[in-house]
């Protein structure tokens, strides 16, 4: 067990597992937040339902935080080890198929930006100003109001756009890499897996991006 975790192969299993937790979460988070496109009340009611279910809330939070901590620690260890293994870099850059894709070459970089994004996102919303509203007679946090406030600022919308595109890149490589790390690659499905990774990333990143854009544009039209 210890030697498994110390091995490069074992670390990649854990990297994949922790990435999978987040890859699954971002889809659910994106899908749920789509309610903001329908109505602020629906969005608030949806958010309230989630935070009211303490088991679900804390369970998810514990899973996400531990997965993120593991993912980041392993990312640092593996990136360091891989740099050392490479040693001298080449003077000339490869091209064509022999070169690594943009997404795969820069995993540690866009991953780090995603980390900064996750923290700033939590500070902005989860730990941001608490407004209250009443939906169907129930008093709850008015997160929709905060969202409208934040995304009336084009700078914030831009930062979300950039971060979410990078998350998309991280996912395109991450999702297909999981299959290899977990040993699930099979000759017949190899191209399908690659495509599925791209589609999944576009759905997640595209879905997320639509939300600040929608808020910003409807705001701009209303104002």
């Amino acid at each position: 067990m210890v030697s498994f975790i110390q091995s490069t192969v074992g670390k990649k299993y854990l990297m994949g597992l922790s990435g999978l937790v987040w890859a699954g979460f971002v889809f659910g988070h994106m899908a749920g937040n789509m309610t903001i496109l329908i109505s602020p009340d629906l969005y608030n009611a949806y958010g309230h339902a989630i935070v009211s279910n303490k088991i679900l809330l804390y369970g998810t939070e514990i899973a996400l935080v531990s997965a993120l901590v593991a993912h980041v620690i392993l990312a640092i260890l593996l990136t360091k080890q891989n740099r050392e293994s490479r040693g001298t870099r080449y003077a000339a850059k490869p091209n064509g198929e022999k070169a690594a894709s943009f997404a795969s070459e820069w995993m540690a970089i866009h991953g780090s930006i995603v980390l900064v994004f996750i923290i700033s996102h939590l500070v902005t919303f989860k730990y941001g100003p608490v407004y209250e509203t009443t939906v169907n007679g129930v008093v709850m946090r008015d997160l929709a109001r905060l969202i409208y406030e934040v995304f009336s600022n084009p700078g914030a919308v831009g930062w979300y756009l950039v971060s979410l595109v990078l998350l998309g890149f991280h996912l395109t490589h991450g999702v297909r890499s999981i299959f290899q790390s977990f040993g699930l690659l099979h000759p017949a499905y190899q191209p399908a897996i690659k495509k599925a990774g791209v589609v999944y990333s576009i759905v997640v990143a595209g879905g997320f991006i639509s939300q600040p854009l929608f808020v910003f544009l409807t705001r701009a039209v209303a104002a």
């Binding site: 192969v9 040693g87 091209n95 977990f182």
Partner: protein, 262 residues
């Protein structure tokens, strides 16, 4: 096919040995026949260097038929040059144009110490083989052909993996200098066949262990290895290696003898 002649400028990594610092040096290969192989072109450059009393460029080669795995260096950042499924000895000058500028660098990896110029020490790969790249069989008369049934698909996959010539291009082209493609090819080649499956778990544990010990990096699934591999070894082998290693790690049983139990 009658070829024409071209001129090529080469920027070659020259380094006497590990202790002395190396540097790039430029050479012009004049009047190169496009029918020549890349190594024949270098031979001609070396002839000229020798005639001038200079030290020839050291590079590894043996069969020059693409089967031994001795040759290999980077051409403009690509392992074994710009073509796919080719060793540098099977790369011909007709794939280049008059006036091309080519940077030649040795395989680079912490686990491949430089010997001289374009030659590196790849014995780390041999040590991975030694750690488990074999099967244990009794010697004696040759068994009957087909006495052991092997599914065609398993034989195909094992044979594909067995075409790995151990050149090290996978390590050289990987941004992490990972030897996952090489190691997994050996693990698949033996583990897919009934004779090799017996020691499959031990093999996966030992070969991955040796691979890590040699200081190769972790696979991040970039696919550069497979694209640079002269034998097109598939990434599917790496997945199989990971699976075998995982299974072996969690099902490892100590060896016991009759009477050990209470």
């Amino acid at each position: 096919m009658s070829g024409k002649n071209i001129n090529i400028t080469l920027k070659v990594w020259r380094q006497k040995n590990q202790r002395e610092a190396g540097a790039f040096k430029e050479y012009v290969a004049k009047n190169v026949s496009t029918d020549a192989s890349f190594l024949e072109m270098l031979d001609a450059v070396n002839e000229e260097l020798i005639s001038k009393g200079d030290d020839p460029i050291a590079f590894d080669h043996d069969c020059r038929e693409g089967i031994c795995g001795s040759c290999g260096f980077m051409i403009n950042g690509n392992a074994h040059g710009p073509l796919k499924s080719t060793t540098v000895c099977q790369l011909h000058m007709r794939n280049f144009n008059d006036g091309d500028f080519l940077t030649l660098e040795p395989w680079r990896a912490q686990a491949f110490p430089l010997i001289k110029d374009l030659t590196v020490d790849r014995s780390a790969l041999d040590r991975i083989i030694r750690s488990g790249g074999y099967i244990s069989v009794n010697t004696g008369n040759a068994p009957d052909g087909n006495a052991i049934m092997i599914p065609k698909t398993a034989a195909d996959e094992a044979f594909n993996a067995a075409t790995c010539i151990g050149c090290g291009a996978c390590v050289a082209s990987c941004k992490n200098a990972s030897a996952a493609l090489f190691t997994s090819a050996k693990i698949s080649h033996l583990g897919l066949l009934p004779q090799g499956a017996v020691e499959g778990e031990k093999r996966a544990l030992n070969m991955v262990g040796q691979m890590d010990k040699e200081g190769f990096g972790a696979c991040t699934s970039t696919g550069s290895c497979s694209a640079s591999c002269p034998k097109d070894i598939s990434l599917v082998n790496i997945a199989r290696m990971n699976r075998d290693y995982m299974k072996a790690s969690f099902s490892k049983k100590p060896e016991t003898h009759a009477g050990d139990g209470a």
